[in-house]
């Protein structure tokens, strides 16, 4: 049945071929990569929250790649490579936006918090209030 569509392929060739195996693999991987971070956080599995943050961020990155490959059908030759080029360009911009904002604003916070310029006695109540 699916071969039938290739008869008039100058329309259908626009749309990439998809397969059940692809979607099933993607779905199973996505479920695993979703359940583990939820379990880590809801079950208080790891003692250090910094470790938990690192691990769940890692799982999120892997899951985004899984979605890109299996659901969005990304590869290096779709649309003559322009899809991937646009994606890489966007990822660079996203990285600059996120990392840049967080870095700059963190520096501002550290260097310009009123509490930081005074002694520790002033710092403690101000800090408690801001939380």
């Amino acid at each position: 049945m699916s071969e039938h569509t290739h008869d008039h392929d100058h329309h259908d060739a626009d749309i990439p071929h998809v397969s059940l195996k692809e979607y099933a693999t993607g779905f199973v991987l996505a479920v695993i990569l979703t359940v583990i971070p939820f379990w880590l956080v809801m079950g208080d599995v790891l003692e250090s929250s910094t470790t938990t943050v690192m691990v769940i961020l890692g799982f999120a990155l892997v899951q985004i790649v899984v979605h890109m490959v299996f659901f969005l059908h990304m590869n290096f030759h779709s649309e003559g490579g322009w899809n991937m080029l646009a994606l890489i360009f966007t990822l660079i911009l996203v990285f600059i936006t996120l990392a840049g904002s967080l870095w700059v604003m963190h520096n501002l916070n550290v260097n310009m918090m009123p509490g930081m310029m005074e002694g520790a006695s002033l710092h403690a109540p101000l800090h408690a209030q801001s939380c």
Binding site: D12, D14, V18, L20, E79, T90, C131
Partner: protein, 212 residues
């Protein structure tokens, strides 16, 4: 064929000379999918800005309630699974479309839309609950950034559902014509893209939000 030689004469007339340019499957009418992908990438930048805002304001509670106190992770887990299942049901719709079965395509699209509606209703319930307990967008920088980010994602899901319903009518009226196939594929990219963004949202906002 005649207009093809007009536009693509560089690679068809001089064999062997310039063939390295466009040797493979070059389709001039391919523009829509690439254009839509570039739209999605620009959408990605909107979300990057919202994520950055949330990251910067992530702990500015202004003495108000925190995410740790108010986020209900089991609700988010249900929401996440709804969106994830809707990804695979959209995949089933794509497979039915590939097999040229219009009824099956419409059925799985409708299931996807239902799951999307479920996601949206739960999200609206969550928003309503948050505002009700005093954590509205005007409460603090944290809640402003939260509602801007999660709300923008929800708005995208809403427009995805509107598009999906429109497409159902189109499919009913015209069947699986090439234009409709192209539209179904574009919506599939949109839908899966929203799922990608949601992965970022539930990790960065909810899971990291309840950690000390």
């Amino acid at each position: 064929m005649s207009e093809n030689t007009m536009t693509a004469d560089v690679n068809s007339t001089q064999d062997g000379q310039l063939e390295f340019l466009v040797k493979g499957d070059h389709h001039p009418q391919n523009g829509t999918l690439l254009g839509f992908w570039i739209y999605l990438m620009s959408d990605c930048l909107i979300f990057a800005a919202l994520f950055a805002t949330y990251g910067v304001l992530g702990r500015s509670y202004a003495g108000g309630p925190t995410g740790m106190e108010l986020f209900d992770l089991s609700l988010i887990a249900i929401n996440t699974s709804l969106l994830l299942v809707s990804s695979i049901t959209y995949g089933f719709a794509m497979l039915q479309m590939q097999a040229n079965k219009v009824k099956g395509t419409m059925f799985w699209l409708a299931v996807t839309g239902m799951l999307g509606l479920g996601f949206l209703s739960l999200e609206l319930y969550e928003f309503h609950h948050l505002i009700h307990v005093g954590a509205g967008p005007q409460t603090s920088g944290f809640w402003t950034a939260f509602f801007a980010l999660v709300g923008t994602h929800g708005l995208h899901v809403f427009f995805g559902i509107v598009w999906l319903v429109t497409l159902l009518f189109q499919l009913k009226k015209h069947g699986l014509i090439p234009e409709n196939k192209r539209r179904v594929f574009c919506l599939s990219m949109f839908w899966h893209f929203l799922d990608v963004v949601w992965v970022g949202v539930f990790t960065y906002v909810y899971l990291m939000g309840v950690l000390p």
